[in-house]
């Protein structure tokens, strides 16, 4: 078999059904073999979108997403998408063509040192120098990408390697002597944790994306019910715990609920599960959770005590460890008083907005929630739209909120929605977008229409780069430096792509537009003209303690 055939055969054996990609000179042998294969390739309009789509596919399914690009500019265009997946620990395999091996290092046409460029943004990467290594490398790449703390892995394949012949041997097992992720927590640590949880008076669960990655939602629910601790989550943890549950506190951190932030500052034991104490979550570090002993469950040892000193670290898979803790905890803590206190926080500091004047973005999200019954997959761009989507849609299931957390990548939402919709064609997929963000990858409307990927895009159009404007308003004396942004006529633009465009300028038309979008068998883009200077509240100013919030409504 040729290298290209080996690649395709190996991908199939890894269970790949679809990949997102773009052809070019140095991947022609692969595209030639794709022509005869039953692997489905979605031709994007920009390689960045191929990476985001593979990422969205992965976040929606839990499987490894795959993207493919040519050498040089094709590969460098993938990097934002790879970095996005890296920051959020998303399993992805990115395949790039490379110039012929004897030309590497010669500044050949469309050459870039892609393994060099992607080294800091991949979990691991490979340059295939010998076709005999290819099958093993593909096998390893999928294994590394999807195990331990997942992440993107890149395989760079020179075009001559794609054409060389060798016998196809697909290794059954992966043997990497230096890579042995820990899946089971240390029993001694689990005992210690169980003890302090039993003795806690104000325990709190702080959960992150790791709960979703490790499919721990069910055991987490049992755990929370057993110890009767309120649960708050990070942006990445949205959907891991049902938001309609009585123990739910919603998201914490910079734009978290005020009651979650007050609760974490008051807690005496924090059980952090698959969360990494990001600065957007902790606020001012030395003021974070001053009264709490912290139990930290994470599969990545380097996440532990990186930002916040942890009292009991437990390295391993969250599902196993929560299961072990459930068995170990004989006596649940008495949290009646604590839940009462938390309840007063909820009553005193609810998540609210003033529903008056122009269309409020929060109202739009609420209506999408109502009409889709909370069952849609929501992807977001980055900025105010992302925070409103995080705050106002009620997620009750994992893998229903797909958003660029760690890197904060504008232009992520539409291609990610594409990936999610390809994975689940029968589910409703909404990209909640801003008028700024959507313009970063709006060309993918073409991909959606051409491939009948009927995603719905809700643009919260305020004529600004909204989050930047909000910061300028609050911290730069309203000096709105370069944040007013113009847009094309989105309705006409949608039309020109063959999609349906709807413009909504009045509140009374919001629900009808959403219903129409859902009932239209096409890619639909709704241009909601919202209140231009609406802000996301509550807000913890950067570098402030979590309970020092600007709550917005006096």
């Amino acid at each position: 078999m040729t290298g290209a055939q080996i690649l395709i055969e190996s991908l199939k054996r890894e269970g790949v059904e679809v990949l997102f990609g773009y052809p070019g000179g140095q991947v022609l042998p692969i595209f030639d073999k794709l022509y005869d294969s039953d692997l489905k390739l979605i031709l994007v309009r920009h390689e960045q979108a191929a990476a985001h789509a593979a990422d969205g596919y992965s976040r929606a399914t839990g499987k490894v997403g795959v993207c493919l690009a040519t050498s040089g500019p094709g590969a460098t265009n993938l990097t934002t998408g790879i970095a996005t997946a890296y920051m959020d620990s998303i399993p992805m395999v990115a395949i790039t063509g490379q110039v012929k091996s004897f030309l590497i290092g010669n500044d050949a046409f469309q050459e870039a040192d892609v393994t060099g460029i992607t080294r800091p943004i991949t979990k691991h990467n490979y340059l295939v120098k010998d076709v005999k290594d290819l099958a093993r490398i593909v096998r390893e790449a999928f294994y590394v990408a999807s195990t331990g703390r997942p992440g993107p892995v890149l395989i760079d394949i020179p075009s001559d390697v794609q054409m060389q012949d060798t016998e196809f041997i697909f290794p059954q097992e992966v043997q990497i002597r230096s890579y042995k992720p820990t899946y089971f927590g240390h029993p001694g640590q689990i005992k210690k944790a169980a003890k302090i949880i039993s003795e806690a008076r104000k325990p709190l669960l702080y959960i992150g994306g790791g709960v979703i990655t490790s499919a721990s939602s069910e055991v987490l629910l049992r755990f929370a019910n057993k110890i009767q601790a309120p649960v708050t989550w990070t942006l990445m943890g949205i959907g891991a715990f049902p938001s309609d549950h009585e123990l739910s506190l919603g998201m914490l951190g910079m734009h978290g609920t005020a009651y979650a932030n007050h609760a974490i500052m008051e807690a005496d034991v924090i059980i952090a599960v698959g969360a990494r104490f990001d600065d957007r979550v902790t606020g001012r570090l030395d003021a974070f959770a001053p009264n709490a002993k912290i139990v930290h469950i994470d599969i990545d040892p380097s996440s532990i005590s990186k930002n916040v000193a942890v009292h009991i670290p437990i390295v391993g898979d969250a599902k196993n460890i929560l299961g072990a803790l459930l068995e170990e905890i004989k006596k649940a803590p008495d949290t009646k008083e604590w839940l009462k206190i938390v309840d007063t926080y909820k009553k005193k500091h609810p998540l609210i907005y003033k529903d008056e004047g122009k269309i409020k973005p929060q109202y739009v999200i609420e209506q999408i929630d109502k009409i889709t019954k909370g069952e849609a997959i929501i992807t977001t761009e980055v900025g105010q739209n992302q925070m409103w989507a995080a705050q106002w849609y009620k997620y009750n299931n994992p893998r229903t909120f797909i958003s660029s957390g760690g890197l904060g990548t504008m232009g992520f939402g539409l291609p990610a929605a594409m990936g999610a919709k390809v994975a689940f064609p029968d589910r409703e997929v909404f990209d909640v977008a801003g008028d700024g963000s959507i313009q970063m990858n709006i060309q993918e409307l073409a991909t959606c229409v051409a491939n009948k990927i009927h995603v719905k895009v809700a643009i919260l159009n305020n004529g600004y780069l909204g989050m930047v404007r909000q910061w300028q308003e609050l911290f730069y004396k309203r000096r709105y430096s370069h944040v007013g942004i113009t847009s094309p006529d989105f309705v006409k633009l949608a039309d020109s792509y063959g999609a349906l465009g709807i413009r909504v300028t009045e509140k009374k038309d919001v629900t009808a537009a959403i219903e129409k979008a859902i009932n239209t068998e096409n890619t639909v883009l709704i241009d909601f003209r919202i209140e231009p200077e609406e802000n996301v509240f509550p807000m913890v100013p950067a570098g402030e303690a979590l309970n020092r919030m600007i709550e917005g409504l006096a």
Partner: protein, 163 residues
Amino acid sequence: MRHTITVSVENKFGVLARISGLFSARGYNISSLAVSETLDPEISCMTIVVDAKDEKILEQIKKQLNKLIDVISITDFTKREHVERELILAKVNHSLKDKAKLDNIVNSYVAKIVFSKNKTAIIEAVGEQDNIKKLLEELRRFTVVELIRTGKIAMAKGDTQDD
């Protein structure tokens, strides 16, 4: 504070870049780095001397190194008995009447003159960094025109590799 760690890695291209990239991306300064193949030609050993202002940073460095797929094991010498050595080559200019003085100095260290012609000598010395430092101070009496150091290498005391 300076810490010495050795890292066993897969002997493959790009691994050194991965390791050094990890340090540079986080703003940790490597003060010396020595790399070579080990008894097993598939494994290389890197001795890294790093400035880390506290234990927490050192801990993070070790954890981050451990995360790299090509890293097989890490040994931290901060709190364990070990032997450490560095090799230097120093090119020294001297007057002819000072040659005897130079010979004396060289003889009082684990050092030797490996090349000598007219008023120039190349001195090779092996030792702990403190000793090397002292030797260099003595050599300052002459004119040191060039100095090359290998960086530190280290090995734990004990009778097995893991001791």
